[in-house]
Symmetry: C2
Subunit: 247 residues, 2 copies
DNA sequence: CTGTGTGGTTGACTTGGATCAAGCTTACGT
DNA sequence: ACGTAAGCTTGATCCAAGTCAACCACACAG
């Protein structure tokens, strides 16, 4: 009977999109919450949205009123200079938060663009603040997430400020690999969601340099590359590359 | 009468070091708090400490339990790679907060070193969290401060990732100038607290490159440099330098 | 299956900033 | 007043990564 089926589908959809049933809850904002606290968070995370590949989740200058948790998919954030130069400030995957930059001025300061068809949960910020005044664990975890973002940024500065091209790319691959692992995917076999140009922008390199470094890693047997398909053959080799050369 | 004088001195000292009487309160954590809320914050900010030039306020790996507000002086934060490479991640002046990186893992992830004799206020973090559960304004302002740090970091990434040497240095000088202005100092005449090497580390350049860029700016009449003494003669000129050349 | 466009690779060459080296300036301890 | 060390400047040279250019590999629309 069609009506029943339809009802069931709706119910299933609701269950699936609740934090309490989300398989990312150990990576995402709900980390460490009790069952009861989780239920309250479910009420807060009201809006889910699909963002198609290439679409903007938000734009620099746009008004800020929510942060976003990625349910599935892959994003980049970037900042544009008036003259058109782009700096990719990060790549975000499922379980990670987007939009923390907007709290400061109540306007977003960067663009968030889906690199593949994605799904996000919108978390109204003022409600998150009021709930985190009541749930200590949530407050503390949110602070940790913001702090982790600062630490990550310092890592990128280190990368850009002191490392040479091959070190940067090795660090980038190892970081991706580690994040895929945390999500239950292979640490050694994955597809890049971003172009060479986007990697280059993130790493402060030109796309040709990224391409050459990939080729070099392949020649040396550290990885196998076929367009966006990466297989890591020698983790230790990549790690050695990273700590190798003083600039 | 000596005893009275001494009493008066002590009283004065206490008043001076309270947030409610600190002339940095419009730049620092107390921003936007009511008189009554400010009094409560005073209780929280219990410890003041002097940090001499060259001393560490905290070290990477050390336990985190407080964030620090700078009352006076000047700091740098840096991250060290095993092989000794240093990345300066920021320079901090009066009214700015230090230690936000430590929230994430409950251990500091960078070093904070005084570049001149300084005074700091220690703010025990768990107490800050509990107070910000009660004082909405404090909570919101603290979130803004953390977010601002993330935005600042994105700016540094832009600098390191897409700008050439002279653009980086121009951006650096304009940023310093603007922060000195906010503190009531001259925007156009100041002393650098850091060495060329530290500037270089922050900007991803070698000290010789920094020195040459200073000389070039002087030749072109944008600034006057004499060792650490900088006078900005042509703000517009520096701004023009910043947006000028695609890499 | 074929044309077209986007993205990736590779080569030749150029260049901005690093490296190496020498000399200068300033601050400070004796 | 002088010696020493730390920090800064400047020049000569080198090299990693950028630039320019040609070509290749898919993906996908018709």
């Amino acid at each position: 009977m069609p009506p029943e089926k339809s009802t069931q589908e709706i119910t299933l959809a609701v269950i699936q999109t609740a934090c309490s049933n989300c398989n990312l809850r150990e990576l995402c904002l709900p980390l460490g919450l009790s069952e009861e606290e989780l239920d309250r968070l479910d009420d807060l995370v009201s809006t889910r949205r699909r963002v198609k590949r290439g679409e903007y989740l938000y734009r620099a200058g746009g008004e800020f009123d929510a942060i976003y948790a990625i349910r599935s998919g892959f994003f980049k954030t970037d900042v544009l200079l008036e003259d058109g130069r782009e700096q990719v400030t990060g790549f975000q995957m499922a379980g990670e938060l987007l939009g923390l930059d907007g709290i400061s001025t109540e306007h977003h300061t960067c663009n968030a663009i889906a690199l593949e068809d994605s799904e996000i949960c919108a978390i109204p910020f003022s409600q998150l603040e009021s709930m985190s005044r009541e749930i200590h664990t949530l407050q503390h975890h949110f602070h940790k997430v913001m702090s982790r973002e600062i630490v990550r940024d310092h890592g990128v500065m280190m990368l850009l400020g002191t490392m040479r091209a091959e070190e940067r790319l090795a660090a980038f691959l190892l970081n991706l690999s580690q994040r895929f692992t945390a999500r239950g995917y292979s640490h050694a076999d994955f597809f890049l969601r971003m172009t060479r140009e986007e990697i280059g922008s993130y790493l402060g390199l030109k796309l040709e340099t990224v391409s050459r470094a990939f080729s070099r890693f392949q020649e040396e047997g550290h990885i196998a590359v076929q367009q966006k398909h990466i297989r890591i053959l020698n983790v230790a080799g990549l790690k050695a590359l990273m700590n190798h050369q003083p600039i």
